[in-house]
């Protein structure tokens, strides 16, 4: 008979996968949501270095001359604006730099129309800084500056250094945390509130099989979860995996298991969905912020680094970036792998000890 009942571990894993796949909300949060997030953030924060600078020239006598000097530069898109318009657009980030003509100085110099210019820009914006350099260069060059040294631009795109390169591994890490903790924790608490755990405890099912079934189903699920972001990153944003695919799989499995273990721990005693949800958020929220999903944790004070690096999501994100962006081998990230392993072992051991079947 082809429908032979298989080993309980296999049947538990299959049942778990079927349950997950038949939950449309789960599919959305695990597969669709991260893609939307990646696309939205990837577009919003795409590097504009390849774009041209928008430079406004304030309308006044001599501004036409400035426009003429700026026009030949390929990197500059000059516009003529009144000073009010220019200031407003600078404030809104629509232009990067305003070039004004210093009228007082200009009057004294008579005849010569171009002797003093005022560059107005926001020095906290990197684009403004670059626009200032480019603008000055174009004007001086147009007025016949002789270069002291000849500089040739050799523009290369260094893969792995853009924001999207930083973002994709962070999203993979975040996704593995969310689906691991919710996927395991939520299902366990639900089974307890529905007295299904008690019913299972009354069968000769090996309790280890039950938990292993969860772990295995997570391991299988993780393949599409990770693959979808990696493939999408490659196709849309040209994010390359510079390390080995096998290393990526190993890091992902370890990360996924770690969060499945934490999900188990949260669910080990909770009697209500609400209680468990509270704990999940309590554990995950700080990691969303601290562990470098969307921005580097190096922006936090340096004394906090050891604590942040001890968090499981930081370890996973750092390990993923090391493999995806830097192409480093596993032995170079032994510390991150150890941090995850410790969390995994601790949470599984403790939750098995305190697990409540009724």
């Amino acid at each position: 008979m082809k429908d032979k009942v298989m080993h309980p571990l296999v049947e538990l894993t299959i049942a778990r996968i079927k349950e997950s796949v038949r939950e449309p909300e789960m599919l959305f949060w695990v597969f669709v949501f991260p893609i939307l997030l990646a696309v939205a953030l990837g577009i919003a924060f795409r590097e504009s270095s390849a774009d041209t600078f928008r430079i406004a020239v304030e309308e006044s006598t001599g501004s036409k001359g400035v426009m003429k000097l700026l026009l030949p530069s390929e990197d500059i898109e000059p516009v003529m604006l009144t000073s009010e318009e220019a200031e407003e657009q600078l404030r809104k980030g629509k232009i990067d730099l305003i070039i004004g003509i210093d009228q007082i100085y200009n009057v004294r110099q008579e005849g010569d129309a171009l002797t003093a210019l005022v560059f107005t820009y926001d020095e906290t914006r990197s684009n403004s800084m670059a626009a200032r350099m480019t603008g000055q260069d174009a004007i001086e060059r147009g007025l016949g500056r002789k270069d002291i040294v000849s500089i040739r631009d050799n523009r290369v795109e260094t893969p792995g250094s853009r924001y999207i390169d930083f973002l994709i591994p962070g999203l993979i890490g975040m996704n593995l945390m969310g689906s691991g903790m919710w996927g395991v924790g939520f299902a366990l608490v639900l089974a307890r509130t529905r007295k299904l755990l008690k019913r299972l405890a009354a069968t000769p099912m090996r309790r280890s099989h039950y938990f292993l079934g969860f772990m295995l189903s997570r391991m299988l699920f993780l393949i599409p979860e990770v693959a979808i972001l990696v493939v999408l990153g490659r196709i849309i944003f040209n994010v390359r995996v510079s390390g080995s695919a096998l290393d990526l799989v190993i890091v992902s499995i370890l990360g996924s298991m770690t969060f499945a273990g934490l999900g188990m721990l949260v669910a080990a005693r909770s009697r209500t969905i609400e209680g468990a949800s509270g704990w999940m958020n309590f554990i995950m929220m700080p990691m969303y912020i601290l562990s470098g999903c969307f921005f580097s944790y190096e922006r936090f004070p340096e004394f906090s680094f050891p604590f942040i690096r001890a968090l499981p999501l930081t370890a996973l994100n750092d390990a993923l970036r090391a493999v995806i962006n830097d192409g480093r081998p596993l032995y170079a990230i032994w510390l991150e792998l150890s941090v995850m392993s410790v969390w995994l072992i601790l949470s599984v051991v403790v939750s098995l000890k305190i697990f409540r079947w009724q």
Binding site: E19, K195, R199, T203
Partner: protein, 324 residues
């Protein structure tokens, strides 16, 4: 039989042991509540044993202690010759099956998938196909659990318990909340299991169910057994085989009725009385002549055999509950 003697027997020859379950002195308190307060019980192989009692009587706690799901504070439970917690738990679980009152099976799995999953936990038993037939679930096999009606869900729960072809089947209120047709289907499945020689421990608060399925029943309240025996014995313990119920218009005192021949007990009921009598042919003519003598009128006269319901009412609703 003393406990020592039983242990001896069970050790020597488990298979010829006539007892499926032996409990002695089982006690379980939850803080102040005496859920199970010293219960002795023996369930024989092949019998269907019913536990009757109102909600909160301690039936579920007692059954879960026997099933090894709850640890008793005191007392011992021997099941199929083994004791829980002595390294034989797995062996016991292979041979018993449990249907819990409130279990909701996984919503997103189908009937067949659920049975497959449960089947995989046991080293021996029926095939999935056989269990689907036993539970009368052929038409529903591809339905997901959350789409099933209450009756079908109960049959699935029962099917999941039957996958291992168990020796003892524990059923906790298997038909509560079901319509009569669905209830009859569940009963059919239980009777089928009994016919194959299985032992059943059934918890219920439907007297009709106990009377139909059980060889012996125990009536439980406040954590104790108040009566134990065959349904017929328990009914006989009332001292009355028949019941006469009627409404009265006019003057007919309870004292007069009490003195009528063959009347064991008189209860007031709305506009009339309930008489528990030894036999109808003695008491009914006497009642009618008393009615005539006192120029009263009676209506809605109803006679029936005493049932477990009457036993239960006389215990749970009568003096036994008030004593406490």
């Amino acid at each position: 039989m003393t406990l020592n003697k039983k242990e001896e027997i069970s050790r020597k020859q488990v298979e010829s042991n006539p007892s499926a379950i032996v409990c002695s002195g089982v006690r379980k308190y939850f803080q102040e509540v005496r859920a199970v307060d010293g219960v002795d019980l023996e369930v024989r192989k092949g019998e269907c044993f019913g536990l009757l009692g109102p909600n909160g009587a301690g039936k579920t706690t007692l059954v879960e202690i026997i099933e090894g799901l709850t640890k008793p504070d005191a007392g011992s439970v021997e099941i199929l010759g083994y004791f829980w917690g002595t390294g034989n738990d797995h062996a016991i679980r292979e041979r018993i099956a449990v249907q819990l009152q409130e279990t909701q099976l996984a919503d997103k799995l189908t009937v067949e998938e659920t049975i497959r999953l449960f089947r995989s936990f046991f080293s021996r038993g029926h095939s999935v196909e056989e269990v689907i037939i036993l539970g009368d679930l052929e038409e529903k096999r591809r339905e997901r659990v959350h789409k099933l009606s209450g009756g079908t869900k109960q049959r699935l729960a029962l099917a999941c318990a039957l996958v291992s072809d168990p020796e003892i089947l524990f059923l906790d209120e298997p038909t509560t909340g079901l319509d009569p047709q669905a209830r009859a289907k569940v009963w059919d499945a239980i009777e089928g299991f009994k016919l194959r020689g299985g032992t059943v421990v059934l918890t219920t608060h439907y007297m009709e169910e106990a009377a139909r399925l059980c060889e012996r029943v125990a009536i439980m309240d406040h954590g104790r057994f108040f009566a134990i025996g065959t349904p017929a014995e328990l009914v006989a313990s009332l001292g009355a085989r028949d019941i006469i119920e009627f409404n009265v218009h006019g003057n007919l005192e309870a004292d007069i009725l009490k003195d009528l021949p063959g009347v064991k007990a008189v209860e007031r009921k709305n506009e009339g009385y309930i008489l528990k009598v030894l036999s109808l042919d003695v008491s009914l003519p006497a009642l009618l002549s008393a009615v005539e003598q006192h120029q009263a009128k009676i209506g809605h006269l109803l006679t029936r055999q005493a049932t477990l319901e009457d036993v239960f009412m006389s215990m749970a609703g009568g003096s036994l509950s008030d004593e406490r």
